[in-house]
């Protein structure tokens, strides 16, 4: 730990030097320092228990579950590839795991097959889509894991089933989350990363101080799972995430389990085509607050999702007294979408800051959760004008498009999402205890524009 600290100081100094170059014309390129903990890992295949540093730019392999023991640290410097040669390969983290990719040199954890597969941009039946083939078993953090940092990392083709390898946090027969974090006192930072193709939830948090920002989620869950699903004991922010093609919700919060109350802010996220692959009907499509969860949800764009923001009423009521939300842009190609902007059977309050203006289409009087028929005027209205994603959608079904491919969800000029954001709140920033510049979270503040890609370029960098 001391070593980490010293490294951190050195890095801080370098960072301050490099930032003093404004006045001259020289272009200075310095080699980026790398974070290291323990010994460098020089052999190329990981197995058993591992610790130390996987060196920048190297490719490593694993075929079985590998364990980072409690008290140990495993680091992936930037540009590292970790490839699974068997689906039972997974990372079991009882200590600390740090994947420190950079924008220039992101890291990748995937299967050897997945590494060679070109991600198709065409419509594929999920039953034959390689995205759902689970080529490795994810990052499974035990209750003892104090810190998980995943930055600029591709996590592709992950998931599977507990199968013959029992892990704390699952029961036999459970499908595996791509990242499980379950230490309410621990810190979990997931930033600027990509999760592509999962068996079930992209990440499940059963307690933790979290910052989940500027990530891209595609093809989440074959037919049962959310991009981000957090339970009791979880406190933190989920912002600037681009989420497309989830089986169920994009973001979900529940206080199941009775630990520290689940308190999460969900702001400036863009969610597209969520909720259509769900194994059973009516299991969400964009964002859910359930069973005692509280927090805030502002500045989100929800496009063609099966349901809008759902706030649960009885019997599994969210902490509605401490839930604040609004400035949501809803867009729907058809009435089946627009009729669920305020999902029927729930208690989501329409907000005057929402787009479209609720009073422009809801019956008057309107009871929370009542069924309504949206007028044709709001169908296909308020197109957020993405740079490259034609709306109404150019595909047979909304569910058919579940990855980004060549699309671009940045906002064109004149988008109704521009300038409609609420900036009068602060992120929870529950991860401020991590101050090391290599490791600490970069908190993006709420923006005056809606969605994950505000026009000032401060949001999602993908």
């Amino acid at each position: 730990m001391k070593k980490i600290y010293l490294m951190g100081v050195a890095v801080g100094l370098l960072a301050s030097i490099s930032s003093c170059k404004k006045s001259s014309d020289e272009t200075v390129t310095l080699s980026e320092p790398q974070f290291q903990a323990g010994q460098a890992i020089t052999h190329d295949t990981l197995s058993g228990s591992v610790k130390g540093t996987m060196l920048a730019g190297k490719t490593y392999y694993f075929a079985t579950p590998v364990t980072v023991n409690a008290g140990d640290t495993l680091v992936m410097q930037s540009g590292v590839k970790l490839l699974a040669i068997n689906p039972s390969a997974q990372l079991v983290v009882k200590g600390t795991f740090l994947s420190l990719g950079t924008k220039a040199s992101p890291n990748t954890i995937t299967g050897v097959t997945g590494d060679q597969t070109v991600k198709s941009n065409s419509i594929i039946d999920p039953s034959s889509d390689p995205a759902f083939t689970a080529q490795w078993g994810g990052i499974q953090c035990d209750v003892t894991c104090p810190l998980l940092v995943v930055k600029w990392t591709h996590l592709d083709y992950s998931g599977g089933n507990v199968g013959t390898n029992p892990i704390v946090g699952y029961k036999s027969g459970d499908d595996l989350f791509t990242i499980l974090f379950q230490n309410p006192d621990g810190v979990y930072i997931l930033e600027d990363s990509w999760i592509y193709g999962t068996t079930t939830d992209g990440t499940r948090v059963k307690g933790g101080k979290i910052s989940i920002m500027r990530n891209t989620f595609e093809k989440i869950a074959y037919n049962d799972g959310e991009a981000v699903n957090v339970k009791s004991g979880t406190v933190g922010d989920m912002a600037y995430n681009m989420i497309i093609g989830t089986a169920k919700n994009g973001l979900k919060a529940s206080n199941k389990g009775g630990l520290t109350q689940c308190n999460v802010s969900m702001y400036n996220n863009t969610m597209v085509n969520g909720g259509y692959r769900s194994i059973d009907p009516a299991r969400g499509g964009s964002m859910n607050y359930e069973e005692g969860a509280k927090g805030i949800a502002y500045n989100n764009i929800i496009v063609n999702c099966r349901y809008g923001l759902r706030i649960y009423g009885t019997p599994t009521v969210a902490d509605t007294l401490h839930l604040f939300y609004g400035n949501t842009l809803n867009y729907g190609d058809s009435a089946s979408v627009t009729n669920q902007y305020y999902p029927v059977g729930y208690v989501t309050k329409p907000m005057t800051t929402d787009i479209p203006l609720p009073s422009s289409f809801l019956p008057n009087p309107y009871q929370l959760g009542q069924a309504y028929t949206s007028p044709s005027s709001i169908i296909q209205a308020n197109n957020p004008k993405f740079v490259n994603f034609p709306l109404p959608q150019n595909a047979p079904h909304l569910r058919d498009v579940n990855s980004i491919g060549t699309s671009n969800f940045r906002l064109q000029a004149g988008s109704p999402a521009i300038g409609k954001g609420n900036v009068a709140f602060s992120p929870i920033n529950s991860v401020s205890s991590i101050t090391d510049p290599f490791l600490k979270a970069t908190i993006s503040l709420p923006n005056g524009d809606l969605g994950a890609y505000p026009t000032d370029g401060t949001g999602n960098q993908h």
Binding site: S49, T67, S88, V92, D125, P126, S127, F132, A134, G137, V143, G159, G160, N161, V162, G163, T164, N165, P166, G169, Y170, K171, S172, G173, D174, D175, L176, P184, D185, T199, G207, Y222, N223, N255, K256, G257, G258, L259, T260, Q261, Y276, R277, I279, D280, P281, E291, G292, T314, P315, T316, V317, L321, H322, N339, P343, G345, Q370, A371, T373, R399
Partner: protein, 944 residues
């Protein structure tokens, strides 16, 4: 329903009264009694008949009285015969002068036959009520006995159901409504153990020690004993009590009995029995056939177990046979008995599923309503044999074998209405149609080789070599699921989505429990010692010592395959009505391998070495003192299949207990006893509880606890016994138990980082109560009753979910005091028996009341599930024709009493948008309501 039940009761009462009144009056009548010459006790069921005209005769009633009517004038010689007594005859001259004669007999013991009756040193029928009462009176400790004769007339066909008639005992039912486990004096099944002929038997249960008592057909028993105080020679791990099933043995008269019966379950007249083909169940898991790494395909599974056939009113069948004979001058005895029961049982149930986590302030909230119909076919088979050889007066050996099997074939159809998913009112939201097919085979085998030896007249040696094996196999447990969503559009029109498939879990689970044990008991009752102690007014001194060793191995296997419905173009297609392999897939390679590596797969062993010393003597010829101490060494080991990185992959636990006891019996006179008992006893954690497993639940992690301490208890009993006549009985007793480290599964919160449900020890619990048994026979009417009051108290940790001062929803740990799970404050039995020996008629109306009790514990304060007080009325009828044939009828659950489960909290669900139907009270919330219907049985017994 209730009015129908009431009408039935009235009918039966009228029937009863009628039999009372209809007594024909005639001219020449002989009346008298038959008694034991020594004790003056009435002999019940003794036969009197005329020497040459056997149709003139009678049998004695409960008072030992008989009456023979309509006798023409003439000379008669009447012969009286009764098992264990010498025949006696008397002559009488009937004239026209008199029409009323008296004839009394005082019977003398047949010492010769008494000696060869192997079952004990008694001269009563081994299966008689008289012996049962005698056993209670003469026992060294506190005990209740049910005789085979009583069992025969009882409406019950399994041992579990018979047990509910015993004072201080109530039963826990299985989902088919039949009793399964016994709760003795409010103590959960874990605090009791089960014996067959005094030998402890292992359980086919996958986790627990206690034995499902519905496995035992009642007709194999000679008598059933419930022992409530332990002597040093008994195994020390019972705090509630011990159930001892004494199986039929060979008496000196040959036996050939056959029993056949048939019947119906009322509910299957009202709805069909839903059956699937048991042959469609794959008995062995794919992983066990092909190896653990085998990657299954959905085509490897059978889907015919989801094809259900409706059968209207299937016929129950029961058969039993007992053969017994002694050979070689009565030296060699053989008894062979078999029992077969094939019964169909129905359960209709509604269950409001409480959400695990309540609303803040621990207000219960409900997430689903389950409407369930169970169709269960129970096939029980039991065979037992006993061979005994009496080498000479001093040496006998016996070989006992028993094999019991119960197959349970069960269909469960569920309509599950989700209350939390897009519900806008009654009839909307997600609806799940669940069909579960379940087949379980449980077996118990026991063989015991036993020897009894008397040396030099004063030393007795008794040894047993025992092998037992209990097994359970629950293959291919699976439940299909179909989902649809019902909603209403803005115009109120109903919109229903097509039914689509949900997950299909398939589980294989089996376990076995093997015991190898040896017992040795020695006792020495030297006359010299008696002589030496005569001055101290001590007599009948008996010194005993002995020991036992048992090596147990237990093996559990569990695997689960989760089949995921296959989508087509991203959605699951509408269901076409057939469950077929092409509609499912394994979502990953790991999923196709099942999950055989899990905490439920484990091996464990247990070695118990126990030994004891005991002294018994009589003080002032009145006070029997029995005292001694037992030492039990326990060594438990377990080995799981978890990876070596798992803390507690294997482990062992050992401890030693010293268990003293003192039993005093003050014999006030030949009919009255006053007893006092003190004994220390233990209860061991279940095999599974001590394994450091973790099973992830949605809300809590269920965890094992290797640091769990075994429970230790100090038990006190005081009982007054009065046996005024052979069958009459008054027992009044009180008991007190101080229970250290009782084991309860409770909520554990450790810091902010974990909440577990874990078996834990909770300080000291207490349990005290009062038992009252009253049995009185008036001529042909017998009245049997018992009442038990139990008051136990335990304080455990519970969760309290609330909003704190900072407006945070949080959970804290609070303590709550409550009764032990399963304890009813009041339990009672009342039965009325009409018995006319002459007419060969017996009618029984039996009533059982089980008071309110906790049936399931909630991790949350105040939210335990309570079963409402429940009454059950049963009826039984027997008529003997031509002495050898007996017709009988049994009707159980006449009132169709529902099982009601409630949460004892204010009910916010009687009105408003969250209304739950069937809620009738403001002060409690109905959670479950279950009906089982009446069961009818009509049979015939043939006694050679």
């Amino acid at each position: 329903m209730p009015t129908c039940g009431m009408r039935s009761i009235i009918k039966f009462i009228i029937l009863f009264v009628l039999f009372f009144i209809v007594q024909t009056i005639s001219a020449a009548t002989i009346q008298g009694h038959i008694k034991d010459v020594e004790t003056q006790e009435a002999l019940i069921g003794a036969i009197i008949r005329e020497k040459n005209q056997s149709h003139i005769g009678a049998a004695t009633d409960f008072d030992g009285g008989f009456i023979i009517k309509n006798i023409p004038t003439g000379e008669y010689t009447f012969i009286v015969g009764h098992l264990g007594y010498l025949h006696q005859s008397k002559s009488i001259h009937i004239t026209n002068d008199m029409n009323h004669y008296t004839l009394n007999f005082y019977m003398v013991h047949d010492t010769l036959t008494a000696e060869v009756v192997i079952t004990g040193s008694h001269s009563y029928g081994a299966e008689s009520d008289t012996l049962a009462r005698k056993t209670e009176q003469n026992a060294d400790n506190v005990i209740n006995v049910v005789s085979a004769n009583t069992i025969q007339i009882l409406p019950d066909i399994t041992v579990a159901n018979v047990l509910q008639r015993v004072s201080g005992v109530s039963i826990e039912r299985s989902s088919n409504g039949d009793g399964r486990y016994a709760i003795v004096r409010g103590m959960d099944p874990r605090y009791n153990y089960t014996l067959v002929n005094g030998i402890k038997i292992p359980s086919p249960d996958n986790k627990n020690r206690y034995v499902p008592l519905d496995l035992f057909p009642a007709d194999l028993l000679e008598r059933l004993e419930v022992i409530k105080a332990l002597t040093p020679s008994m195994e020390g791990d019972a705090i509630g009590g011990v159930v001892n099933m004494v199986m039929k043995s060979a008496p000196y008269t040959p036996i050939f009995n056959v029993n056949l019966a048939t019947g119906y379950s009322q509910m299957f007249f009202d709805r069909s029995y839903s059956k699937f083909d048991p042959n469609s169940i794959q008995k062995t898991s794919l992983g066990e056939i092909h190896g653990q790494d085998y990657q299954a395909s959905t085509y490897d599974f059978n889907y015919n177990n989801f094809t259900y056939h409706n059968i209207k009113a299937p016929i129950n069948g029961i058969a039993g046979i007992t053969l017994a004979k002694r050979f070689f001058k009565n030296k060699f005895g053989v008894v062979l008995a078999g029992s077969y029961q094939n019964t169909y049982r129905a359960t209709n149930s509604v269950f409001f599923n409480p959400n695990t986590q309540p609303l803040p302030g621990n207000v219960p909230t409900f997430d689903d309503i389950y409407l369930r119909q169970y169709s269960t076919q129970l096939t029980r088979g039991g065979v037992h044999s006993k061979l005994d050889y009496q080498i000479n007066k001093n040496h006998t050996i016996s070989l006992y074998n028993v094999y019991l099997q119960m197959n349970e074939l069960q269909t469960r159809h569920t309509i599950d209405t989700a209350l939390s998913i897009s519900r806008t009112g009654t009839g909307t939201g997600n609806v799940y149609l669940l069909d579960r097919s379940r087949f379980q085979k449980q077996t118990i085998y026991n063989t015991t080789l036993q020897g009894n030896h008397t040396l030099a007249g004063t030393v007795k040696i008794n040894w047993s070599a025992v092998y037992s094996l209990a097994k359970s196999n629950l293959p291919d447990w699976s439940e299909t699921s179909l989902t649809k969503n019902v909603s209403k559009d803005a115009n109120g029109n109903q919109v229903i989505t097509p039914e689509t498939l949900g997950y299909l879990p398939r589980r294989w689970q089996h376990n076995s429990d093997e015991d190898k044990s040896g017992y040795l008991n020695l006792s020495w009752s030297p006359a010299s010692l008696d002589l030496a102690l005569k001055k101290l007014a001590v007599s009948k001194v008996e010194l005993s010592a002995g020991g036992m060793y048992r090596h147990k191995t237990r093996d559990n296997y569990y695997t689960e395959y989760k089949l995921t419905p296959k989508s087509n173009g991203g959605i699951i297609p509408p269901f076409d009505g057939a469950f077929t392999p092409d509609k499912y897939l394994f979502i990953s390679q790991a999923a196709s391998q099942g999950s055989p590596v899990n905490p439920n797969t484990y091996v464990c062993s247990e070695n118990i070495l126990a030994y004891y010393g005991q002294i018994k003597f009589l003080l002032f010829s009145k006070l029997q003192v029995l005292s001694g101490v037992r030492i039990e060494n326990t060594l438990q080991k377990f080995e799981t299949v978890m990876p070596s990185s798992f803390a507690g992959k294997s482990g062992s636990i050992s401890y030693t207990d010293m268990l003293p006891s003192l039993h005093l019996k003050y014999m006030i006179n030949s009919k009255q006893n006053l007893r006092f008992s003190y004994f220390k006893s233990i209860s061991r954690p279940s095999y599974f509880e001590i394994i450091p497993y973790n099973i992830q639940g949605e809300y809590f992690t269920e965890a094992g606890n290797p640091y769990l301490k075994h429970t230790q208890a100090k038990n006190f009993d005081l009982r007054y016994e009065f046996f005024p006549k052979a069958l009459d009985q008054i027992l009044v007793g009180v008991f007190y138990k101080n229970i250290l480290n009782p084991i309860e599964i409770a909520y554990v919160k450790s810091g902010t980082s974990g909440s577990l449900l874990q078996p834990q020890n909770f300080g000291t619990a207490t349990n005290y109560g009062f038992e009252f048994v009253f049995t009185k026979f008036f001529g042909k009417i017998g009245f049997t009753s018992n009442y038990t009051y139990t008051n136990s108290s335990i304080t455990t940790d519970k969760a309290y979910y609330y909003r704190d001062d900072n407006n945070q929803l949080t959970t804290s740990t609070v303590r709550q005091t409550r009764p032990l799970q399963g304890q009813s404050k009041h339990i009672a039995n009342i039965s009325l028996l009409y018995k006319n020996q002459t007419k060969g008629l017996e009618i029984l109306l039996a009533y059982v009341y089980t008071g309110r009790r906790i049936v399931q514990l909630s991790p949350y304060k105040d939210l335990d599930y309570w079963q409402k007080g429940m009454s059950q009325l049963d009826f039984s009828f027997e008529k003997t024709i031509k002495k050898k044939f007996t017709f009988y009828a049994k009707i159980t659950n006449i009132l169709n009493s529902p099982l009601l489960v409630e949460i004892m909290q204010p009910n916010p669900y009687r009105s408003g948008s969250n209304v739950l139907y069937g809620q009738t009270r403001d002060d409690r919330i109905l959670v479950q309501k279950e009906y089982y219907g009446q069961n009818y049985l009509l049979g015939i017994r043939y006694k050679f």
